[in-house]
């Protein structure tokens, strides 16, 4: 079960789109999973032949659980014909004891997409010995130091946590804090009595623990969506000391240039100003890497790419934030096409798992709702959110005279733990500069 967002700790398998014996390739959609926010199409992360489907439709499983088994040796990589090939070693894979080497877990996404995958360095013999004493499976552990190597301190910390409080999923902990539920009073229904988000919801609602899972009705979906947003936004406002900056940008050149381009483009491929705004935000984030990344364990971790989160409001209420991967490398037509496609599928409930991975920075564009500016709430663990208001003709000083220009208010909400306002100012300035030369987008 892949993690489809920072606030997900379990998912319901709705439907299998493959069956045992099927040959599948990396990127193929293999299943549909229901999360609190949306039904999501899940892609496979490797080539192979489906050996067994482990989880049945309707079953709820935690993030990280095995959904199906895949024989990677059975299928040649895409495009290589039928010739026998050695199975390519999967990159970013956790070191695993040598059990059944050809079998691969179908989904290798780490629980927290923001964290780097476990590094290959092996723990010391001393650590292994202590782990054995404490009954801890080292393969399940992420080291706290550079390189992800597990040290003795990690083990002791884990052992201490294990005796002092029950195991609680991160979302459940956040929900409990928000709802004021005492964790020691909650009966856990997860593996080994772990407390899950649903347990908290039941206690908070005054209900008894339920055994079976029922399908999520539309009303339930709206409720879950609200709770999920509530938990994440409460965490943001509780943990992140936001600072806000704002500037006004003249879009005259962008709008004129776009009008010219649109005369030549097919009607369905016409550009809208939002695409230029997104593109400019992505390129500016590349120029100011201090704002592009995540705040994890008390420090800022820059992201290698600009994965731009596009915050979308759904007609039925609520939000989804699909990601435009490496958005700073896309040209304007690509951004426009992706934006249309993601918006359409988000509203139809047909996003793919990879499109809900953790963005490195997000954009909220409320221009179409007619607001002048957006003072956003950052999505943790991100450290910045860029907001765009409506593009509207307004009075503006041009060459010492008063002119009417299409203006937009660009704002930045940023995490003061990670940066100071001088860095934030650099991002807004970059956005303004980039929008002054739209032909380079």
């Amino acid at each position: 079960m892949p993690s489809l967002g920072a606030d997900m700790d379990e998912g319901t398998l709705l439907e299998w789109l493959v069956k045992p014996g099927d040959t599948i390739h990396r990127g193929d959609i293999v299943a549909v999973v229901d999360t609190a926010k949306s039904a999501v199409e899940v892609e496979c992360f490797a080539d192979g032949i489906v050996e067994a489907l482990v989880v049945d439709p309707g079953q709820v499983v935690p993030v990280g659980a095995v959904l199906a088994r895949l024989d990677e040796n059975g299928a040649p990589p895409e495009g290589s014909g039928a010739e026998p090939v050695k199975a390519a070693p999967a990159p970013e894979k956790a070191p695993e004891p040598p059990r059944e080497p050809p079998r691969e877990r179908l989904h290798e996404q780490p629980h927290e997409p923001a964290l780097p995958a476990m590094a290959a360095a092996a723990p010391s013999p001393l650590v292994r010995h202590r782990a054995h004493e404490l009954g801890i499976d080292l393969a399940t552990l992420q080291g706290s130091r550079a390189g992800g190597v597990v040290h003795r301190q990690d083990l002791e910390a884990l052992a201490h946590r294990a005796v002092s409080r029950p195991r609680v999923s991160p979302l459940a902990r956040r929900l409990a804090e928000t709802a004021g539920v005492d964790l020691s009073t909650v009966p856990g229904t997860g593996a080994d009595g772990a407390i899950r988000a649903d347990d908290i919801r039941r206690v908070a609602a005054g209900g008894a623990p339920a055994g079976e899972t029922e399908h999520r009705a539309d009303g339930q979906r709206a409720t879950d969506m609200r709770r999920s947003i509530a938990a994440l936004m409460s965490r943001s406002k509780r943990e992140i000391p936001h600072y806000y900056l704002s500037t006004t940008v003249d879009l005259h050149r962008t709008v004129e240039w776009m009008r010219e381009r649109n005369r030549e483009l097919p009607v369905g491929e016409r550009l809208v100003p939002s695409a230029a705004l997104l593109s400019a935000a992505a390129r500016a984030a590349r120029e100011v890497p201090e704002l592009n990344g995540h705040w994890v364990d008390g420090e800022f971790r820059p992201a290698p790419d600009v994965d731009l989160g596009l915050i979308l409001s759904l007609r039925s209420g609520g939000l989804l934030a699909p990601v435009l991967k490496a958005a700073d490398t896309l040209d304007l037509s690509q951004v426009m096409a992706l934006m249309r496609d993601l918006t359409r599928r988000a509203r139809a409930g047909r996003l793919r798992g990879s499109e809900l991975s953790q963005p490195s920075i997000s954009v909220s564009n409320l221009g179409d709702q007619g607001v002048e500016s957006v003072l956003g709430v950052i999505y943790p663990p991100q450290v910045a959110l860029v907001g765009f208001g409506a593009v509207a003709p307004r009075p503006w000083a041009v060459d010492g005279l008063l002119g009417i220009r299409p203006l937009v208010t660009v704002t930045l909400a940023a995490d003061h733990r990670a940066t100071d306002a001088a860095i934030g100012a650099r991002l807004l300035k970059a956005i303004g500069r980039i929008l002054a030369t739209p032909e380079e987008l």
Partner: protein, 85 residues
Amino acid sequence: MTPDQARTMLEATLREIVPDADLSTLAPGADLRDTFELDSLDFVELVDRLSTRAGFRIEEDDADGLRSVEAATRFLVAHTDGGGR
């Protein structure tokens, strides 16, 4: 295209973009973007589909003429044979 045909075409296209749109109570002059909360992407989609259906290219500068049912109907009639050309 007659005004009736134009209106039917517009309504069918709107329903594709906003499936639960209630068109029976829609005032002829009401702003389509405001009424159905169409964003700029929805509007591109609407113009694209109308263009295809009507069989002629609707220029961006003319898209403002599609703000309401009344205006859009008039625009479609004027730009097709029903306009008397």
